[in-house]
Symmetry: C2
Subunit: 346 residues, 2 copies
């Protein structure tokens, strides 16, 4: 560590004094304004480099109303899809000079509201959000929209029209693919463990599931569909009910992989052979689903693609916002394709 005195140049006016220039000139150099003498520019740059000056983002943000920061709200970091998406977003934005403030709602609507407000307080340039599975009312994002901060939803998104960009996986098709796969294998008694229908992704997956069944003229048994938070414990409860008395299902479709894994483990415990006596399909391609024995068929959502599209869209919004003071257009959602990955559980 060098001596304090020498390096403690952390405001533009201190630089100015040392170089016998005005703060204005320093600022112009730092912002690549054209009308600065090349010699002056070089002198300033050299000095800035030497003393390791770093622009105070708060001061410049206050003046310019730009923070070069994007806010991100996710339900849980630990969910595989989000981990991947966040990583992609972070890398993408960092490459363009933006940084990220990340908040986790823990699937609590209250915390989500709080986070939205905090992000507005920080005057981030844009907000990306994957909502709680219980968020039905999105008005806590209004304050952002009203102040021309673009909002972009992904994964769990508003179902009513809302003036924000929307990016989501093709959940309807995912549900349809999973169910069709089981039906094509000859399954007739398919149970479905769904998340709560307050959330678009579970609505869509469920709709895909029903579409496939009706197409194959299989009646939908209401008592074989479960709606609850997709935890391992809930999955075990559902299994307990399903295998309390015959007829037993010959396939279980789960709306996420945590559930599928819990189902598989329960089946192993009570001695049901998978896939011979019971086939299982999950959703999301969590790394665990590929590693367990037997490995579980699942739906790949391509989180890296989702992340890339988000980055592209957010950069577009940021540029657009910079050029025109127009409000965000309410365009069609962008839908990222999904794919079935067949494994040993079917």
């Amino acid at each position: 560590m060098k001596s304090q005195k020498q390096t403690k140049k952390n405001s533009i006016q201190e630089l100015a004094k040392a170089l016998r220039l005005s703060p204005a000139t320093i600022s112009r150099v730092l912002n690549n304004h054209p009308h600065v003498n090349t010699a002056t520019r070089n002198r300033v740059m050299a000095f800035v480099e030497k003393v390791g000056y770093t622009r105070n983002i708060m001061a410049s943000g206050l003046r310019t109303n730009k923070t070069n920061t994007v806010g991100l709200i996710v339900p849980r970091f630990s969910m595989f899809v989000h981990t991947e998406v966040i990583t992609t977003i972070q890398n993408g934005l960092h490459a363009h000079g933006y940084h990220l403030i990340i908040g986790q709602s823990n699937d609590s609507v209250e915390i989500e509201k709080d986070l939205a407000r905090t992000l507005y307080a920080s005057r981030v340039d844009a907000v990306i959000a994957a909502c709680t599975m219980f968020t039905k009312n999105f008005s806590h994002f209004d304050v952002l929209i009203e102040n021309n901060i673009p909002v972009l939803f992904y994964d769990r998104v508003p179902m009513q029209p809302y003036p924000a960009r929307i990016i989501k996986g093709d959940d309807f098709r995912g549900g349809y693919l999973a169910a069709s796969h089981l039906l094509q294998l000859g399954c007739k008694r398919i149970a479905y463990i769904s998340g709560p229908l307050s959330c678009n992704i579970y609505i869509d997956r469920h709709a895909g599931f029903e579409k496939a069944l009706t197409q194959h003229k299989i009646p939908v048994r209401k008592d074989w569909i479960f709606y609850h938070e997709l935890t391992a414990e809930n999955a075990r409860k559902a299994m307990h009910r399903l295998f309390a008395k015959p007829p037993y299902p010959d396939a279980i479709m789960a709306a996420n992989d945590v559930t599928a894994i819990a189902v598989l483990e329960y089946a192993k415990e009570i001695g049901i052979k998978v896939p011979q006596a019971l086939r299982i399909v999950g959703y999301s391609n969590d790394p665990r689903s590929g590693i367990i024995t037997p490995s579980i068929t699942t739906i790949e959502q391509f989180p890296v693609n989702i992340g890339k599209v988000i980055v592209a869209e957010v950069l577009k919004l940021l540029k657009q916002e910079h050029e025109t003071e127009g409000t965000i257009t309410e365009s069609d959602p962008i839908i990222i394709p999904v794919e079935l990955i067949r494994r040993m559980s079917t």
Copy 2:
């Protein structure tokens, strides 16, 4: 969404004008200053509530030099330990009114430098960092220390004295426990797949490994120790070398679970029975290590505990910094205990 005109009160002076008060009074209300008339306070609070005013953090941060924001640098979000630690930190700080800026270095020293600089530019109140496995020089954190921003390292930390809080798992004991366990089971030919020795955690785990071997009077075979980034591909390469010709090892100890899993899968492929012919121990208790067949013995690091201690320490530093302008004391590292989890692979 309500009409713009009515709600667009986003500065203290607009509030002041509307209420026929001075900005100073509004500010005092917002900051719970004692000397404000109760009636005035209630009137202001009600209005603030009604129009949904939110303090501009940049302006207040500029004035007070406090941002209520903590910066966090991690190598990769996707590493299980970090996912857990981040979650704990985020929840803990949020409960105390702080928010987090998270950056990911991707194990690149260059990006890490960049992130440290950016966090300083944002004038965060404190920085928490788990470094790259290649970071040997920590001088890019100097700028923070010099400006009285407390720094707290965890997991991958400086080995030379550095004026920052240090919190780490007991890696020496972890390495020792893992190796001792194998030795007690009678293993005589233990190979060890380590991370690069530029990083404290791998140095310590390695030291623990050697200590256990020498205690059991087993010579350390240099050609059975590998030092490289702990990826699945590298693990397979190591296995390829180890099983090219006899004598084969009777146990493999891996410095993380990704490697242990790759080792197990390779062993399955070439028909080596685990644990009969080969025992495997991993490190970190990644969820996958418990779910694979056979499940893998590993070292639990208690990431949630690490996170809790970090939160407690960081809050302590923030308070302390607020009270006295003293520099951070260079205290002893805090060491979080680890535990061996025995599973089917041994």
